[in-house]
C-alpha cells in the first residue's frame, strides 16, 4: 500500500488544526473566478492610486505616509467584500454542505475564516506599504512613517474586513450582505443627523469611530469609542451568527 494508507488511521483520529483550516480558507478566497478577479482588482487599484498620487496628487500627499494612507483607503473599499463572500459563498454556492460535513464543529470553520481574513488583510497592508515605498521613490517626498501609522492603517483595514465576515454570517446572502455593508454608513449618517442619536453615534457608528484612525493620533477616549463600535459590529454579530449557525440546518 501507499505511505498514505499507513498514515490514514492516525489522520482519522486527529481533527484538522485551525492553522490548516485557515490556510484552506485563505486559498478559497483566491481560487474561484470571483475571488481571483476581486484580488486582482484590488492590486490594480493600489497600483493605479499610487501612480495617480505620484503624478497628479497634491504635494501634501506625495510622500510615504500620504501614498500609504491613500492605498489603504482604496483597499478598504473592496477587501470587506472578500470577507463577506468568504462566508456567504458557502450558502450561495452551497459549498457549506461539503465544508461542514468535513468539519462538523461549525464554529471552527468560522474561526478559520476570521483568521484567514486577518491574514489576507496583513498581506494587503504589506502590499500597500510596498506600493507606497515604490511610489515615493518616484515622488521623492518625506520617508517618515511611524509604526503607529502602519498599525492604525492595519486596524482600519481589519475592522472593515471583519465587519464583512460578520455581515456575511448574519445575512448568509452575498447581495444582501454587500448592499447592507455599503448602505449602513449612509443610514448612520441620516440617523446621526437626528440630534438625540448624536451621542450613541459617537460610540456605535463605525464611520465616526474609525475616522480618527486616519488622523495622526488617537486619544484614549477615541480608542474606547472605536472598541465599543467594533464590539458591536464585529464580535456581537459574529457571536449571534455562530450561535445560530450551530443550531441551523444546512441544505
Amino acid at each position: 500500500m501507499t505511505a498514505y494508507a499507513e498514515t490514514a488511521p492516525r489522520l482519522a483520529l486527529s481533527r484538522p488544526g485551525i492553522g490548516r483550516l485557515a490556510s484552506v480558507e485563505l486559498r478559497k478566497m483566491a481560487d474561484t473566478r470571483a475571488g481571483f478577479w476581486l484580488l486582482l482588482t484590488i492590486g490594480l487599484l493600489i497600483a493605479a492610486i499610487t501612480v495617480i498620487v505620484v503624478i497628479w496628487g497634491e504635494t501634501a500627499d506625495q510622500n510615504l505616509a500620504g501614498i500609504f494612507g491613500d492605498t489603504i483607503e482604496i483597499t478598504s473599499v473592496l477587501l470587506p467584500v472578500l470577507g463577506i463572500l468568504s462566508v456567504t459563498s458557502e450558502w450561495s454556492q452551497r459549498t457549506g454542505l461539503a465544508t461542514f460535513s468535513l468539519v462538523p464543529e461549525r464554529e471552527r470553520v468560522i474561526a478559520a475564516k476570521v483568521v484567514a481574513a486577518v491574514a489576507l488583510t496583513v498581506i494587503a497592508v504589506a502590499v500597500c506599504l510596498l506600493a507606497a515605498v515604490v511610489g515615493n521613490v518616484f515622488a521623492g517626498g518625506s520617508w517618515s512613517l511611524g509604526l503607529g501609522d502602519i498599525g492604525r492603517g492595519l486596524v482600519y483595514e481589519l475592522i472593515g474586513v471583519l465587519v464583512g465576515v460578520a455581515f456575511g454570517l448574519l445575512f448568509l446572502s452575498s447581495p444582501l450582505a454587500i448592499v447592507l455593508y455599503f448602505v449602513l454608513p449612509t443610514a448612520w449618517a441620516i440617523l446621526g443627523s437626528i440630534s438625540a442619536l448624536e451621542g450613541p453615534a459617537e460610540w456605535l457608528d463605525l464611520s465616526v469611530t474609525m475616522a480618527p484612525l486616519v488622523e495622526a493620533s488617537m486619544s484614549g477616549r477615541e480608542w474606547a469609542q472605536l472598541g465599543t463600535s467594533v464590539a458591536l459590529w464585529v464580535w456581537a454579530l459574529l457571536a449571534i451568527g455562530i450561535v445560530r449557525l450551530q443550531r441551523s440546518e444546512l441544505k
Binding site: A3, Y4, A5, A8, L11, A12, L13, S14, R15, P16, R20, L21, S23, V24, R27, K28, D31, T32, R33, A34, G35, S89, Q93, R94, T95, G96, L97, A98, F100, S101, L102, V103, P104, E105, R247, E249, L250, K251
Partner: protein, 299 residues
C-alpha cells in the same frame, strides 16, 4: 456501520421524516428508495450531522457523526453533486478537501483517475461540468479520505448507463472490502442492480425494508398466456389474487405450480411462467409509492 433509530424530522406541522429505524452493515450496499420528497435527503443530512433531528438518533461508526474527529477519513459523503462552487476547478475542489483532511496532494490525481475525470476536465471549472461529471467529482470527493462508510444521495442521477455500470462496480468493490454503503434513489432501476438491501420510504415513513430476496418473496410470479382474461377469471375463482403486470402479463400472488395447475385444469396455454424478480419489485415499488402521485393530483 450506520444505525438509524426512531429518527424524526418535523417542519412546522409536517413530518418530513417520521420515526424511521434501519441499519446499514459493513459489507453491504443499502438502497434507500422513495419518490421525490419522501424524506431521503433529510434523513441523510441528519445522519451526517447537517440537520438537527426532531427526535431519535443516527449513529455512524459507534457515535454521532459530529463526534468523529476528522469525519472525512471515515465517512465519505455526497449529498448534492451540484453543491460545489461553480467558479472553482474540479481539481481544486478535491485539493481543498485533501488539505482539510491532511491527506497527501497526490491523492487528488489518484481519485481523478479512479472516477475517470481527465486532466483537461479536472482543469475546467465546475460550473461547466455536466451533471454526470459533477457526480463523478462528488464520488471522488467522498472517497478522498479512503473512508469505511459511504453516504451518497442520488449518486446515479445524471450518469449514463455506462456510468451507472461503473458506479455499480465501484460500490460493489467498496462493500466487498467490508465497506458500508447507503445510497438513495427515486429510480428503482438504478438501485436494484447495486443494492443488497433496500429501505423503501414514502411520506417520511419506511414502508418496506429487507434484502432483495425478502422483498421479492411476497410478490409471487409473472405469468403470460394466450388468453389473459380466461386465466384471470380462473385464478380469481380459485381464490388467487392477480394484478396486471403490463404488456399482457399477470402478477400472481401464488407459487408457480399452483398457477400452472389452474391453467392446466382450464386448458389455458401459458407462454411464460417465472418468479417475479425485477418486475415484481417494480410493482412493489410503484404500489408502495403510488399514493403520493394520487395525493399530488388531488392537491
Amino acid at each position: 456501520m450506520i444505525a438509524v433509530e426512531n429518527l424524526s424530522k418535523r417542519y412546522g406541522r409536517q413530518m418530513a421524516v417520521d420515526d424511521i429505524t434501519f441499519r446499514c452493515e459493513p459489507g453491504t450496499v443499502t438502497g434507500f428508495l422513495g419518490p421525490n420528497g419522501a424524506g431521503k435527503s433529510t434523513t441523510m443530512r441528519m445522519i451526517c450531522g447537517l440537520t438537527p433531528p426532531s427526535g431519535g438518533s443516527a449513529v455512524v461508526l459507534g457515535g454521532p457523526y459530529r463526534a468523529l474527529p476528522n469525519p472525512g477519513m471515515r465517512v465519505g459523503v455526497l449529498l448534492d453533486a451540484s453543491a460545489q462552487h461553480s467558479g472553482r476547478t474540479g481539481r481544486e475542489v478535491l485539493s481543498l478537501s485533501a488539505r482539510v483532511l491532511g491527506v497527501p496532494p497526490s491523492r487528488v490525481g489518484e481519485l481523478l483517475d479512479l472516477v475517470g475525470l481527465s486532466k483537461a476536465a479536472a482543469r475546467k471549472r465546475v460550473g461547466n461540468y455536466s451533471l454526470g461529471m459533477r457526480q463523478r467529482l462528488g464520488i471522488a470527493h467522498a472517497l478522498i479520505g479512503d473512508p469505511e462508510v459511504l453516504v451518497l444521495d442520488e449518486p446515479a442521477n445524471g450518469l449514463d448507463p455506462e456510468g451507472i455500470a461503473w458506479m455499480r462496480r465501484l460500490l460493489r468493490d467498496f462493500a466487498d472490502r467490508a465497506g458500508t454503503v447507503l445510497l438513495s434513489s427515486h429510480l428503482l432501476r438504478e438501485v436494484e442492480a447495486i443494492a443488497d438491501r433496500m429501505v423503501v420510504i414514502r411520506a417520511g415513513k419506511i414502508v418496506a425494508q429487507g434484502t432483495k430476496a425478502e422483498l421479492l418473496g411476497a410478490t409471487g410470479v409473472v405469468v403470460r398466456t394466450l388468453d389473459p382474461d380466461a386465466l384471470r377469471e380462473a385464478l380469481t375463482s380459485a381464490g388467487v389474487a392477480t394484478t396486471p403486470g403490463g404488456e399482457g402479463a399477470l402478477l400472481v400472488e401464488a407459487e408457480g405450480e399452483a398457477v400452472g395447475r389452474v391453467a392446466a385444469a382450464e386448458g389455458i396455454v401459458l407462454t411464460e411462467l417465472r418468479a417475479a424478480d425485477g418486475a415484481g419489485l417494480e410493482e412493489l415499488f410503484l404500489s408502495l409509492t403510488a399514493s403520493d402521485a394520487e395525493e399530488s393530483l388531488i392537491a
